[in-house]
Assembly symmetry: D2
């Protein structure tokens, strides 16, 4: 059986303790487009997106991440994903049409690392606002791009994503000694650097969801807008350039502490003959090409994730490996 | 007697037949900041400006330009300007405090070319929004920069502005034959290319008022915003690069047909030892450095100007010289 | 038999009458990276590309286009393409490894519209210069993106590309009356608007090859660099915004008259459920969103293409349909 | 006697221990234009500048700053400056034409804080490369903008610069308690935020010379270019936004450790009625509007300055005041 036709990262569902405060951050300041809202959730999208939402904010008593979601090509793909999950004894359940607003029948799986992953085919279409330049607000968030997750054992989850789900690796980080060990991997289905990255750390946790901005100045605009509104406390790291992926990045913590990345500047992938790019964990340019240190919180903090069956937040385990201290302030 | 201390271009007053439509254009689409409004006028400013208005839109039965206005250093300067005007038999009158909202006592002169020119010292201060990045809208209009006027005889008005009013020339255009004749001149008091430009043509008319944008992308944003709102008919010329002044320009016609330029990219002047830059009228790069032709309307159309005494629109005279047809589409 | 796994537009081969002049234009001014050169050809690539060339300039006695080339996933795909071409009685031939420098065994087909199309799997890898920012020159050409071709009958060639070769349509232009007729189509394999566009016109001809720039300012930089070097005559059209594809475009004619587009700003595609976007040929925003007219040469001129068997330039036929005159200056 | 007509910051002279290494940094990577060089010095300028040099790198056995230099309007101004210096018993000497390459007769003064300040009228003119866009390299350094100096007692030097030399204050930082004390001041003659800033600290020292870049992306380009060439160690601080002056800044240490700032984004000044903007030293947004901490080296390190008479490096004194620790990493 071939790998299922996973198309791309589709949306992320964050938990928020205060929908109003979340709207101020995401809609009023960052300019996400609001597709719909009710007393339980806020459904947002980027300016070039045509689906109902790429960012869902669910009212909950504690912060965290409900699930990450990949779009797949067909209902057949959902059934193949269901069969694969069952064969591997992974927690899996169907999400009926409308259980998540705007979304057709979908599948949720707790992946072998414990991450709550959803797959969907159909979602209500909305107007692409790409050419409604008169409605652009904030730093011009265009579309969701990827998820970045922390797990204690990257190698085994990498094996699952590549073998069972057909992801390809664009770049990866390895330790050098005593023996090479996979530290982190950038995995993609669409034609750029990643749809999901796996990093070594306490997990399962969602480190961040990445949203794409069109140009360099938009990254700077995000800083300025937040600072102009006296919300500079939301700026956790950046602007800076990752060696890995070449992204010009900015990491923000939303009012609940969930993290998003706003970035621009990666590159086109998609040639099967293109070998993954290896980075040594000791290369100071992999994390920040310009040589800046990241704050400790960026390494330590991440969002707890939900159990797809019970809805509770999953317990985490630490990693035997830790990132090298010289890159931490 | 030394030249009066004229500081810079201060504001322009356009006539508009429809204040609501003017607000949609200038405030809703172009993001000018509204300081004040009443049933007779709209008072707007750019994001870095601290004075009450740099753009005034006065309700009138026909379009046109009421006056252009320069800020001067002191009341003494106003008196010296008054004396100079009287000595030259120019129409001149005092504008009492509050006659123009937010403005202290000012002076209006019909210059020797017939242009209505105001000088003022004091204007009510407002909040500089430079660092309220969260409030930025439109293409980020920062400040007024210059006026561009058409008169039949540039040389004689050039002599007045440089000798009587102390303007310095940064660049100029000359015909080559049979004998060099001054075609146009860029004159400044502040430290950039111009506060006022004089071009040969039917006059006295105000060709445009120029407003400064911070970056290249803002010029493109102005086009996109207007087109996104289906107002692309407002785009008359550009984006393009002037050889003269190096401005990356965009010319817009407001709903009344009055013209503004949005631009970025000129350079610092201010050294008295810097000789003016000469352009031949036959150099195709002076008008559009990239070689594009300007539309005929850009050469033919301009705003009639008011008599400072009677308030009627001044009659115009054509010029014996006309611009070379090869640069007109 | 499934559609062959065509990955993306790979490279274009232009004919040039003067390799030195072509190098000045493409390398010295536009900053293409030179991978290799000999007395017969120049092999260039963009800054993010890792293959030997995306632009080949072949010495020839007349200008024109030798072929456009798509990368495919495997040798099996080449064989399937060969079989499909033979079954349709299309001219087809194998191009042995090394016949085109740096390239493995490839296949050339004269498509049903007469366009010379190459398919290849393997090409020599070179250093990706994406992060050698110190070596960036010119307007930062990143990668080839698409080909745009003119043929008299778009509908029949559209049918071939979608049915036989598996291309998907992102956007298209139709006439409104008397009956809808396909005027132009944007077809893609990779995840953006197009790898090839088909436009109604005299053909078979290559209208242009499109190369991607990262940001708005790079489009302006291209104009400025050419004009700074007094090569503004190379600027044929733009900068402007296409309604179709949302590209911020600039069309250049190289010293041989072959045309390239430098652009940025399209959007991500790839969802099979995304319906193609229809434009009426009477919508003035489809060609230039900002309302500018294109010069006549842009509609009239295009590069003749080679016969893949004999190497001569193919004769062309006109189209019964012509573009609407109101969009031509 | 009126204040002398000081026009603007003109140039800085740094000491360098290795002219070749300095050229690699300033010319090859940062794209400064080389006007002239000999075995003793390198004379550089920005792309819009027309004078012989705005940055002079003098061969010396140790790093440091030889002098900062202001352009004045006339020889009369030099004589008035000479008289003022003598009356105040300041070290002062004439620098004859040609003593500094390209420069006419000039005056050097050790200001009351010990800073070596030069005044000049005439300097050899060179080609303005503003429109030679084809020659632009690096991050597009346009022109020198300002000097930033550290002295133990800002108030007394502020008094001198404003009273004796006619500088105006645009912004300043004050301590809040026990009593307000002037911490730092931004002083200007040309129409933007500063030509010279005075900061409390060990002095006399030159903290940095500031050069202006045209756009946001140029600041990012500077980081990328340095990192691309594996010179990211030169990046000391930034990119970031200053609350004071609104500059989007980047601080670099050259191979000798002398510091330059590359920046864009301040605003127009020049209205005498504009009151200076006050910042509390306890306002976290004054130093970095986005809330980032500056590295300790930025507070601790600065260039020693020369005695204008003997040429030796001046001894320094510390300040009783120190910057607040909470803004230091």
């Amino acid at each position: 059986m071939n790998a299922p036709a996973i198309l791309r990262a589709g949306h992320v569902a964050f938990r928020t303790t205060d929908l109003g405060r979340a709207r101020e951050f995401y809609v009023d300041l960052l300019g996400f487009v609001e597709t719909a809202a009710d007393g339980h959730a806020l459904y947002l999208r980027g300016l070039e997106e045509t689906e109902h939402h790429s960012l869902m904010l669910r009212k909950a008593v504690t912060p965290g991440a409900s699930h990450v979601s990949f779009k797949v090509a067909s209902g057949d793909d959902l059934h193949r994903l269901h069969a694969t999950a069952e064969a591997a004894d992974l927690p899996v359940r169907w999400v009926e049409e409308g259980e998540e607003a705007g979304q057709g029948r979908a599948l949720r799986v707790q992946d072998p690392g414990g991450l709550p992953v959803e797959f969907y085919v159909e979602m209500e279409r909305t107007e692409r606002l790409l050419q409604r330049f008169d409605l652009y607000r904030g730093p011009h968030v265009m579309r969701i791009d990827h998820f970045n997750c922390q797990v204690p054992d990257v190698q085994s989850l990498y094996d699952w994503y590549t073998a069972a789900w057909g992801f390809r690796c664009s770049e990866y980080t390895e330790t050098d000694e005593p023996a090479p060990r996979l530290w982190a991997a950038w995995l993609h289905r669409k034609n750029n650097v990643h749809d999901i990255a796996l990093m070594t750390g306490e997990g399962p946790r969602l480190h961040h969801a990445g949203f794409w901005l069109p140009e360099t100045i938009n990254v700077i605009r995000a800083c300025d807008i937040l600072a102009g509104a006296r919300q500079h406390g939301a700026i956790e790291r950046g602007p800076g350039r990752h060696g890995i992926s070449n992204a010009l990045f900015l990491y923000l913590r939303d009012p609940d502490g969930n993290r998003i990345e706003l970035f621009t500047g990666d590159y086109q992938t998609g040639d099967p003959s293109h070998p993954p790019l290896r980075w040594s964990i000791d290369d100071p340019r992999r994390q920040t090409f310009w040589g800046h240190a990241a704050p400790r919180s960026w390494f330590d903090d991440a969002s707890l994730v939900e159990s797809i069956m019970a809805g509770n937040l999953m317990p985490t385990k630490g990693s035997a490996l830790t990132d090298r201290p010289e890159f931490v302030t």
